[in-house]
Amino acid sequence: MNMMSEAAVEKALDKKMNDVSFKMIGKDVSVYYGAKRALFDVNLNVRQNTVTALIGPSGCGKSTFLRCLNRMNDTIDSCRVTGKITLDDGDIYDPSIDVVELRARVGMVFQKPNPFPKSIYENVAYGPRIHGLARNKAEMDQIVETSLQRAGLWNEAKDRLQEPGTGLSGGQQQRLCIARAVAVSPEVILMDEPCSALDPIATAKVEELIHELRANFTIVIVTHSMQQAARVSQRTAMFHLGNLVEENDTDKMFTNPDDQRTQDYIMGRFG
């Protein structure tokens, strides 16, 4: 792929984005942990084939919102979610929705790399296996290879597929986790500070990867790094004290934000 065509692809994607088709829509989303309210009526939409970055100081509710998008908050006993979140116009908190199916469509990558104590191959094959995505060994091999390639790990891992995933370096582990999420062919991938446990070189690789994944997936990423948000995302949402302060194009957000609080946070005056 030469520079021209790459730019063309970018352009095509941006055009697609500007068509503004919303993949997920959050309306009046509030979250309570027991009696404590963590999110206040957040209205935030996630656009198709776009990287949306959620920023804000610690404890502002950005991770909480992210975890609402695939109902990972269900695993916390005291957590209660109100409001409405839709995925392709289907309410994901509807009682008829199977949370397992939802999580197959909305995958997740966590803050700390958490490969299973299995081989690299089995780590990637885990999702396809439980969802029955491959009919035979050859198809599974294909899925594993594609996923590892998409996660940019194939060249490093192809000769050691049967070695334990926990034996990889931190950055490789995180890319393995991304491959694992990609293997299920989700529509949306949620990333909760995916680079916070990685060194700068590994971070650069993962960021590059996020950029490439945008072509096939819709990505929502929580990050503490302003630069990272600026580098990888097209849309940015700023949270503060459980409220959504502002949501805008990333370029605009970092040059000329509408809200004073965003300006202050980006300039490093608080947070």
Partner: protein, 494 residues
Amino acid sequence: MNTSLIILFILVLGLIGYVTGRTRSLSISGGKLSALHSRPVYYGSYVAIWAVIPSLIVLFVWLIAAPIYIDSLIRSSFPDSVLSQGSATTELTLGTTRSMAGGILLLSAEELEAAKSGTGNLREILASKGVPLASEAQPFMIEAAESFNALSATSRLLMTIVVFAIGVLGAFFAVRRIGLRFRARNQVERVILAGLILASSIAILTTVGIVGSMLSETTRFFQSVPAYSFFFGTVWDPRFAAAGAAATAGQFGLIPLLAGTLYIALVAMLFAVPVGLFAAIYMAEYASPVVRGTAKPLLEILAGIPTIVYGFFALVTVGPFLRDISTELNGLVTGNYVNFIQAQSVLTAGLVMGIMLIPFVSSLSDDIITQVPRAMRDGSLGLGATRSETIKRVILPAALPGIVGALLLTASRAVGETMIVVLAAGVAARLQLNPFEPMTTVTVKIVNQLTGDLEFTSPQTLVAFALGITLFVITLFLNIYALYIVRKYREQYE
């Protein structure tokens, strides 16, 4: 002065030393505490330690050494007619002399005079005072007894003086050393450290002592019974150790006992492992905090029930129940109302032992399952796995080594369990495979061989030590292996 009084006085001395040391350090500091190296408490403790510990050590050494020395003096004062009869007679005479010495103190001067002159029988006089003697008192023994008393009194007096002197000297030494830059805290902490080391070595030394004593008795057993006929013998028939008939050779085959032990442990594990494991999975993964909060302690209460209670539960309830139900079943199927399960059987003992083991399995496994990092669960759930898929494919495999370790620990308990099998397994040492028949275990046979009126010279009793050490070695290796596996598992997440 008697020993407990001496100890009390030393402790009082220590208290005085503490107050003195503390006061002195305060006066040295001139009210400026920061000038002192350590806080006044440490100076006080330092003096107290010097007052108490050396004197207590001397006291205990004296208490142990003095009687030995006095005994040897008395022994050497015996006439040759006694000494020439060998050590057994000498020791017997010494014992009589010692009890006589105790008795003489109770006599009035006239009675003693009478005994000495031979006009009164000392044995009868002492018997009337409640001091029985093993044999008639001979004149030389009365003399020896008197000198024994004299020596003991001197020793006691000397001991009191020496111990107090050391206590006071120690305190003085310590008080003199107190100074502004004197590092009392470091010294005190070293003593505390030594105390901690002592405490832990007591436990270890006791173990070594137990093993040592078992080993020596076992060696004695193997002198009369060859090792191969013990370890590979298939017949257990120890006979009785009839008095004077030490030559009665029984057969001491370990195999039937070991088979019974392992068989019953196997049945117990077959019952306890699935139940305990499922309970643990429910507790760790599915139960709501409320259910977990109540059910877990309840399950653990099961672990607190004394095993003898399980034993008679087996004997009175489970055994008869199994017997009756087998009668009914047999009657329904064949028309012949005869029980095919004995009340005392491998099944009864195994079942009840399994119930006993459930809390061990569930509690240990529960701990291990909850130790699996939350990130593993989240990772799996985030990929759209259901809870049960997560448990089956991620959590159990990750926890498996730990669970295996826990099961091995449980198995070693099953192998060493005594009271349940004593009551529920039967005493017939048979080598067979029918779980409905009684079998017996190593522990049951140890109990059998050691109950009653015994002399520890015949192989019939000594075999208990050989059995004990065999059992010990088996459980030891199970435990070591279990710990090895558990440790290996821990490294995975660190």
